[in-house]
Symmetry: C2
Subunit: 364 residues, 2 copies
């Protein structure tokens, strides 16, 4: 029912759709680890439940949850969100979970990447990550689809596909020594081509400033539709993000995609710098093997880290004067989708945002 | 997606189908507790895998498994058996799991009975049973169906339905003080009527000799089809089972079903008495709160404890001269199904048999 395939998606005619294509539903994982989520993860659980409720207005949502949190998650979530057991080390299904691929003849499969907690024993964020490593396999079983085991350390948040042969990623992450140190850029490109059926890879140099994922593209830049991208931005030349976004804009402006199109690049201004407070820091348990949170650390806040649902956009708010302009910009970019903003500081405190805690399953 | 319904199946036009009606698939739970399954449950796991493989020839099988046993179960089971996480206290899905009901217009729901480990703190087999209590709810989530929470302590193995308004059960179990002591026989009949949509309940006095479930009917007697039942039997008047089967035969012979039919009763001779060996007993961990296994204890072996699959029967074998006659008899009774016998002593050692470790999900 859920076999491991020895072939590759490209050989079998499977491709990674764009997130803006139609979804069957969305996968999420319930937060609970107290060394990452403050105050016994209760504030984060409340926001995850709001995100799940928002997305479930547009498409089916399945929440994976540890056995110990099943009743609590079931109680905090609306009936229409499905809750299933799914052991995990943390709740970043975008990164630890699968990438679904389709063949446009009704076929659905998934890619089970190697996961090493964003860097393994060289800068990874926690250890062990044994349960995260099983998430893609377990989702394959739950959905009843076959899977490809890709021989590549890769998190879903480090890639964006336009569904038409183009991928955007960052050098900071995919070429990092703590991911696939034995593979050259060219070898990684071959793997990405074989597994995602892409012909053109646009390499941005770096991800957002102080992003603990080693620069995931999904916090910096994403496809709105084929030929159109959005980029997080600041006009403040003193801000550490300025140089990063400027470099990315330069690459994007000069790029052509797999179909030979120049890209339209839209920018969305980031919120003002947000730092972890003393109180927030104090709510996190100290545990051996986990990178600690430090008060005053700047967090990598970006409006780009939103989820595209069927007919909707679920996007982070930061209690910042940039919130409304960002939502307006998203509405301009997605005129046919309803924009839902969710106050997301509690997700940001855990190290990511709405896109990082969601994973779309394409409709076939 | 999986709501709790305040109504009852009868009011909503739902009934419990006979096991011989068409199935969508079968649910099982992977054994692991070392205070019930000898030698770290490895011999039992091998037999559960054989049962799952046998049933999966006929219909889809989903194996629920604790997080800790996921990889081991996945490795021991064929690809075509789906493996999903499902925390549990033990592996008797027939008893701790749901009873599915259908409305014959494509509707599927389930009944979530109260489970108390076959007697709670008065003769129950283990404590706690908190994870078993959640199994029906979790299966409702996995399947995506609504459920009725029945205010009745009941295990699936204590009832057999003909799908046409008749139920067979035993007084020994359903009227036992350790199940629903505050309810009279008449009140229990009202609940069974409301939840299973049955009009006629045939009460057999006792279940099999030394059956630790307090006499579940599914080890003693079952429907072959409406109007036809099979009963475990012995001709040995000195055997403790003789009086039990004789009493049951007398009740069945005098009964009419909900449609006013007399029942055809077929008997299947039980194997010779089987006792737990010293070695088998020594392989079981002693744990506080669990009824211990004693060497020399007679086990309640019966060929009636088989599973009816789509086009097949999966039945226990006991390395006994009665095995082949029993399989021939089953072939006579089910001329259109293929009979698959599985050596089942390792399941019997845990306190039940193939019917007890399976639960059908009807096709709608």
């Amino acid at each position: 029912m859920a076999k491991v395939l020895e072939s590759s998606p490209r050989k079998d005619g499977y491709r990674m759709p764009g997130e803006f294509e139609a979804h069957q539903g969305c996968w999420m994982i319930w937060p609970e680890r107290t060394d990452n989520w403050r105050n016994e993860a209760k504030p984060a659980q409340k926001v995850f439940a709001e995100v799940a409720a928002a997305i479930s207005q547009f498409e089916d949502v399945t929440m994976g949850v540890s056995g110990g949190q099943f009743c609590n998650a079931r109680d905090m979530l609306p009936d229409r969100v499905r809750v299933v057991e799914l052991s995990n080390n943390d709740s970043w299904v975008r990164d630890a979970g699968p990438t679904f691929v389709v063949d446009d003849r009704g076929g659905l499969r998934l890619i089970d990447w190697i996961f090493n907690a964003w860097g393994g024993l060289e800068g990874g964020l926690y250890s062990p990550w044994d349960q995260d490593e099983l998430i893609s396999q377990k989702i394959a079983e739950l959905v009843g689809v076959d899977r490809y085991k890709a021989p590549l350390v890769l998190e879903g948040g480090s890639i964006h596909s336009d569904g038409e042969g183009t991928l955007i990623t960052t050098e900071e992450c995919l070429l990092n020594n703590n991911r696939n140190p034995k593979l050259s850029r060219e070898e990684i490109e071959v793997f990405l081509g074989d597994y995602l059926s892409v012909e053109k890879i646009i390499w941005l140099p770096r991800g957002c400033y102080n992003d603990e994922t080693d620069g995931h593209v999904d916090n910096l830049c994403c496809f709105i539709r084929p030929g159109v991208v959005a980029l997080t931005w600041t006009d403040d030349r003193q801000d550490s993000q300025y140089q990063i976004s400027s470099e990315a804009l330069e690459v994007l402006s000069g790029a052509v995609d797999a179909r030979g199109r120049k890209l339209d690049v839209y920018t969305i201004r980031q919120p003002k710098p947000i730092a972890i407070s003393t109180e927030e820091c104090a709510g996190v348990d100290r545990v051996e093997g986990t990178i600690p949170r430090q008060e005053g650390d700047r967090m990598a806040a970006s409006y780009i880290n939103f989820y595209i649902a069927n007919g909707g956009i679920v996007a982070p708010l930061f209690d910042d004067s940039g919130d409304q302009p960002a939502m307006y910009k998203l509405q301009e970019l997605f005129p046919d989708r309803r924009i839902v903003g969710i106050p997301a500081r509690e997700i940001l405190l855990g190290g990511g945002n709405i896109h990082c805690i969601t994973q779309q399953q394409p409709k076939v």
